[in-house]
Symmetry: C2
Subunit: 224 residues, 2 copies
């Protein structure tokens, strides 16, 4: 089973490397990091990753996966990428994303009419595309599976692998990855963080989020 | 503050990319992926990462960080790497690791007399090097901070950043990364997984673990 993982400049690398780590522990899955070219891709923080295939050479995906990150906004009107995702999605068994990756799928029209999630700061943008926003960590609707912000990719990938390969193997993988998380603080979601810290976080990212919002509105307009 | 993160063939990439994601959200930290050469480094599952510096060009670390993975065994008698770690550790404020990275630090003599942790399958090997093994997810002893298996790197890095930059900023980072984990199963640690699945996991990795054990014993012998 081919897993096509989209790689693009200024992605949030953990959106991708979390699921990659889970998927890589199932030998049935062949992982492809697919980008426009084979040049190194630089994530939002300077990590340089090498693609394994281009849009032209990528095999048909069984699982199509799109991570999020600041660079998501550059893909919302990028026909080359949106067409690639539509083509791959048409033959894929699962169409999936983590974080703001769901906005890219939405811009390609691939989530219209589905329930889906997104990073909590951008969840409000899904309805622009006719997507039903769900404030949960992993959301499954038919063959669409979406994860919330960044670290939810590990939960998403374990959930998908349990579906594909059964609970026993997924549990064993969780044990090998010693995934028994102990976050140092309560408050990893806006529900538990408290108003003050949520507002401080919103304020810090306001200029970028306003830009992201305008780009989403324009992309939704194009989809009509 | 320079963070020197060791990059080597067949590391477990999430040991490194989890902490990288956390560290990258603190602009005071300058992240360096340091390897023997600037050639791409291939993790245990085929992910290709590009180093930013070599042992010769790496700046003095404030935080020295060593990830684990199958390739750890190749470094246990690698004097070039062990000497590099000793040199960097001598001037570092914190000496840290995730997963079997602690065995590499131990082989360099950098954990002797300290409390530390490791991936649950290899925790028993720390005492060969005069290290006190602790079955906890993040272990702090003076300026040594070690994390347990793979995913514990996220908890480790948030803990360290809370120490360095205060709880408020660490909490905000946890919220931005939406780190409110919901593992699909109970049993991410051997304490909670149940005997049957723990024994199955041990059996699956027995040949490699036996090799790892012999390499550790030989490295401990050399350290005497």
């Amino acid at each position: 089973m081919n897993v096509t993982m989209l790689l693009y400049p200024r992605l949030t690398q953990l959106d991708l490397t979390g699921p990659f780590e889970v998927f890589s522990r199932f030998p049935e899955l062949k992982l492809h990091l697919v980008s426009k070219t084979l040049e190194p891709v630089i994530d939002g923080s300077g990590l340089r990753l090498l693609p394994t295939a281009t849009y032209a050479t990528a095999p048909q995906a069984s699982i199509l996966f799109v991570p999020g990150g600041p660079g998501q906004i550059d893909l919302m009107a990028d026909d080359e990428t949106l067409d690639f995702l539509r083509l791959q999605a048409a033959g894929a068994t699962y169409v999936t994303s983590v974080c703001t990756g769901s906005l890219i799928l939405a811009a390609a029209g691939l989530l219209t009419g589905y329930r889906a999630t997104c990073h909590w700061l951008s969840l409000n943008q899904l309805p622009y595309f006719g997507v039903i926003p769900v404030e949960e960590r992993v959301v499954e609707d038919r063959n669409r599976i979406t994860g919330a912000g960044v670290t939810s990719g590990i939960d998403f990938a374990l959930t998908l692998c349990a579906r594909l390969f059964g609970d026993e193997r997924a549990k064993r993988t969780q044990l090998f990855m010693e995934y028994d998380p102990q976050p140092p603080f309560v408050g990893g979601s806006p529900k538990s963080a408290g108003t003050e810290i949520v507002e401080a976080a919103r304020e810090l990212t306001r200029p970028f989020q306003e830009k992201r919002e305008l780009v989403a509105l324009a992309a939704a307009e194009r989809l009509k």
